[in-house]
């Protein structure tokens, strides 16, 4: 599981879970060989629907299947599911409170080959703003596998967001994620690095570098953007006094936005956000170099931690 791309971990795990829950049906919009829902399709052809390049129609079709008692996993590139089909999502899933599982693939910068049109750095912001929606960004393959039964059992609208490629492994096979419950991966007292998705592995590497410099950083994984574990965020804020958020998403409206809102309202604390800084990205030769270029290097996280700590001690004027 550890060296597989996220989509392969998901595709295999979904096909495996399909045998355990016959209510699960899977929809795709001509991307099943990318999202790897084709593993499920091969195993359960009569529970798989490929509707062609028609994400809005696919979302509504999934809504109908849910009204008829099934648990649809509706798959597409995040850019199209969260943007092209968003009115369907808002009205027919969130407002109507239907039991549909939306799975956004190739999120963040991970579709480096196809470029900024296929990247998606705003999906979490969009989904998080919609009432009734649960939003989850899994971090590694073991977690993805174990999320599947959890999200299938969750009654109600849910968005599950993944990247295309390999994320650094961080969790054991036994990881049992719970919706809305943050995971502390590392103890630390000087600063808390809050990360999710593909950036969790890089954040742990940053914590290693900080420790070599004598700075002990706590690492907290906020995989559930909504409902947000405000208690865990505030505990980290009060115990470490400085926060850094790290995500493969715009710094507006995603993890950084959510944490900023929680801190400002409940426990004001110096914060530095690492993420895509309100700009479109580029086409690149691989995802890693694109993430580096867009300010998501391990060194960027280390620098952000140092700035957050300085803010803690010297006031608010520093960048």
């Amino acid at each position: 599981m550890t060296t597989m791309p996220q989509r392969e971990a998901y595709g295999r795990a979904l096909a495996e879970y399909g045998a355990l829950n016959e209510k699960v049906v899977v929809l795709d919009a001509d991307t099943s060989s990318s999202t790897l829902t084709n593993f499920f399709a091969a195993k359960f052809p009569d529970r798989f629907y490929n509707v062609g390049i028609a994400e809005p129609g696919m979302v509504d079709f999934g809504v109908g299947l849910s009204l008829g008692g099934y648990i649809p996993f509706v798959n597409a590139f995040a850019a199209f599911l969260a943007l092209r089909a968003i009115e369907q999502v808002r009205t027919c899933i969130a407002y109507a409170n239907t039991n549909v599982k939306l799975v956004g693939h190739y999120a963040g910068l991970s579709d480096y080959k196809d470029g900024p049109t296929h990247n998606c750095i705003v999906d979490v912001a969009v989904m998080r703003a919609i009432p009734n929606m649960t939003v989850i960004v899994p971090s590694d393959n073991n977690q993805i596998k174990n999320w599947i039964p959890v999200i299938a059992a969750h009654e109600g609208p849910l968005y599950f967001r993944m990247s295309r490629d390999v994320a650094l492994p961080v969790h054991p096979e036994s990881i049992q994620p719970q919706i809305g419950r943050a995971i502390q991966l590392r103890e630390g007292s000087e600063v808390t690095l809050i990360a999710n998705g593909t950036m969790l592995g890089r954040t742990l590497l940053a914590a290693d570098q900080l420790e070599q410099a004598g700075i002990f950083a706590r690492v907290l994984e906020i995989h559930t953007l909504k409902p947000l574990d405000v208690a865990a965020i505030c505990a980290a804020a009060s115990q470490t006094g400085a926060i850094v958020t790290v995500e493969e998403h715009s710094i507006i409206g995603g993890l950084g936005g959510a944490v900023a809102e929680a801190l400002a309202e409940n426990c004001p604390t110096p914060l530095v956000r690492v993420g895509v800084r309100d700009c479109f990205a580029y086409t690149a030769l691989d995802a890693e170099s694109l993430m580096d270029h867009m300010g998501l290097r391990v060194e960027d996280i280390v620098e952000a931690a140092n700035i957050a700590i300085r803010k803690k001690y010297t006031g608010r004027d520093l960048v």
Binding site: V51, P56, G57, F61, V63, G64, L67, T91, C92, N97
Partner: protein, 279 residues
């Protein structure tokens, strides 16, 4: 096809007339709503709710009930009127429509109102959702039928045709769409805003079975719905030619009455016309 007596036809016509009166009263009381597209659908809803649909209003979640989706959700007035008359909720709720603590929303809401199968409002959703319900019925070996009432303005929305594709691909013969073709939308005549013709050919080209009827003729509506059930290879659309604002002379074929409320004098005139109309 079952025999339909003249008496039964008269009863359904009478119900349609009363649903029109109720819709106008509701819209006037609330000072909001969509009279034109409610009046054009009166016979269709009369036949569906009082003749065709297998429903148990006392048990709105009965698993084998037929499913009805009002895709043109702005015709909520007449849907609510039909549902109240059918017993899903007390008739007096109709006159609290739109109040903050009333379950009846501007557009239908499945969470708040018992018996509403699906929330609607933004146009274009009903067909693809209906396809999903029809597929669920097939998969779970249930013989309920799914009906979707579409507006003609909706035909301009791309997602309708995505739904049409899906239903045709999977040969969803247990799905019937009814097009309330009154040729008037918010901004004016449909044939001017964005023409639909040749609408029957378009649906045929999408591999649907197509029937064309007068949407105010009870016998034609009943026979078309019965006919649709005899088609086992593909979904059916019934293109029902109707008159927007049907039954109120000054509202007929006038886009100004898509979503407007009559002033007191015109309100009295509307009731008078509907009450004396002999059918």
């Amino acid at each position: 096809m079952k025999y339909l007596s003249e008496k039964r036809i008269f009863e359904l016509e009478e119900i349609a007339r009363q649903l029109r009166i109720e819709s106008i009263k509701m819209i006037y009381k609330r000072q909001a709503g969509h009279p034109g597209g409610s009046l054009s659908a009166a016979e269709i809803l009369s036949v569906l709710f009082f003749h065709k649909l297998r429903l148990k209003p006392e048990n709105p979640h009965w698993e084998d009930r037929d499913r009805f989706l009002l895709s043109k959700g702005h015709a909520s007035a007449i849907l609510y009127a039909a549902m109240a008359r059918r017993g899903f909720f007390p008739v007096d709720h109709l006159y609290h429509w739109g109040e903050l603590d009333c379950h009846l929303q501007g557009h239908p809401d499945r969470v708040k109102t018992p018996g509403i199968e699906m929330s609607a409002g933004p146009l274009g959703h009903g067909l693809a959702i209906g396809a999903g319900l029809a597929m669920a019925a097939r998969k779970s070996n249930r013989n309920y039928h799914t009906y979707v009432l579409l507006g003609d303005g909706e035909m301009q929305a791309g997602v309708v045709w995505e739904g049409a594709n899906i239903a045709a691909k999977y040969h969803l013969a247990n799905l019937t769409a009814i097009l309330d073709y009154n040729d008037v939308q918010l901004d004016g005549p449909v044939h001017e805003i964005m023409p639909l013709e040749p609408i029957a050919d378009r649906w045929k080209a999408f591999n649907w079975h197509v029937l064309e009827i007068n949407g105010h003729n009870i016998r034609q509506i009943v026979e078309a719905l019965d006919h649709a059930e005899e088609i086992h290879s593909k979904p059916t659309i019934i293109i029902a030619r109707t008159t927007k604002g049907k039954g109120v002379s000054y509202m007929e074929n006038d886009s100004r009455w898509h979503g407007a409320v009559p002033k007191p004098e015109l309100y009295e005139q509307a009731l008078k016309e509907l009450q004396k109309e002999e059918v």
